[in-house]
């Protein structure tokens, strides 16, 4: 375990929080406009990277 693992855990939660806000801003339909869609893609890519880094840290 490392500080990096802790940081990645928080980063991933924060990215999920940003996704949560996106869901709030688009409730109830959750239909994204072009900007929100781009934001969602970026957040999900970040989340995948963060989870991947977390896997490397925790399972090494």
């Amino acid at each position: 375990m490392s500080k990096r693992a802790v940081d990645m855990t928080f980063q991933a939660i924060y990215t999920l929080t940003d996704i949560r806000i996106l869901l709030r801003e688009t409730a109830p339909s959750h239909e994204f406009d072009i900007h929100q869609e781009a934001q969602a893609v970026r957040l999900l890519e970040n989340l995948e990277r963060q989870v991947q880094s977390l896997k490397q840290e925790i399972l090494k």
């Binding site: 939660i13 929080t17 940003d18 709030r24 409730a27 109830p28």
Partner: protein, 393 residues
Amino acid sequence: MKCASGIEARQVDELFINIDPIQAGGRLTAEAMKAVIAYGDGYSVCDNCRKPNRLDYIAKPPIAEFHKDVAKWLNMDAVRTVPGARRGFQAVAQTYVKKGDPVLVTSLSHYTEFLAIEEAGGIAREIPANDQKLITPDAAAAKIEAVKRELGKAPVLAFIDHVDYQYGNLHDFAAIAKVAHQYDIPVVYNGAYTVGILPVDGKALGADFVVGSGHKSMAAPAPSGILAVTAEREKEVFRTTAIVGDVTNRKFGIKEPEMMGCTLMGVTLVGMMASFPHVRQRTKHFDRELANHAVVMDALLSIEGTKCLSEFPRKHTMTRVDTIASFDRIAESHKKRGYFLQSALEERGVTGVIPGATKVWKFNTYGTTHKQALHLAKAFVEIARENGLAVKG
């Protein structure tokens, strides 16, 4: 989905447009949600508490700086955080009101102002609202004179809500404070529905004290709020302790009795701090909020029989409407009775109207996007049409 044993994960604002009148301004920002995750533990802000061991002196996280920033933002001289606006009222009442003292409130005042007066032993006297449900400076002057005649002395304090919780009406606080000051009555500005929602300049308004609610209007967790004071009042309300233990001879440094020492020691304070940059900015764009509110009001008022009980045009996003001659007519014969409106709204992804309410009810559109405001407007009109009510336009 549960977040703990027996506790449902609350997903109201993710699944619905929430127009609950008291919840709109307290929804957390992303920053506050993140801070809440990091600072959820009990005394989490106390890691770096150093002498003189008081909350508003802590530099990391930047609590001391936050206090200064909030004072500057409100154009007041000193600020403390409090567990809700009511604790701000309480601190001021405990300082200035003695047994039998008259205190001014209004006929639209929040109950916690009454309780603060009661606890201090004071006598509440209400300035009546006029037919438009507005508190006027003339009515304030008349009430002060009436109190003098009745009790032989002028009120020692006045609590005036800039925007009241019943109608969401904007009252002429500055003019009322000017009248009160002519009788040397210090005035509490109740900003539960304004601080964090629209621009507030305490000194320009003539406030001796500004009280704000974190969970109602500053995108912060409950219970949180602020009490801001002028330099003249700082040493009175925020006086420091003088008590000494007779056995131990202990003293308690610069702790403040009205604050009961430290106030918000964790997630409430950090949540309010984290939202503050966003909150400060959003108050500059209240016109956008009013524009979104107008979209919804136009739709509601296009429904035959619907009336706005609040002042109109609207100056705030919380509004009281009368639908006795519209939605309540449907409720009389609908199989769901009074619950049909809530049910029909929830089918359309809208929540926050009191279940069963079809006569007189309040809603608040603060924080909705324009697209969500259009959705709300459409939802009300659709429900009206589907149930045979006439809609103009």
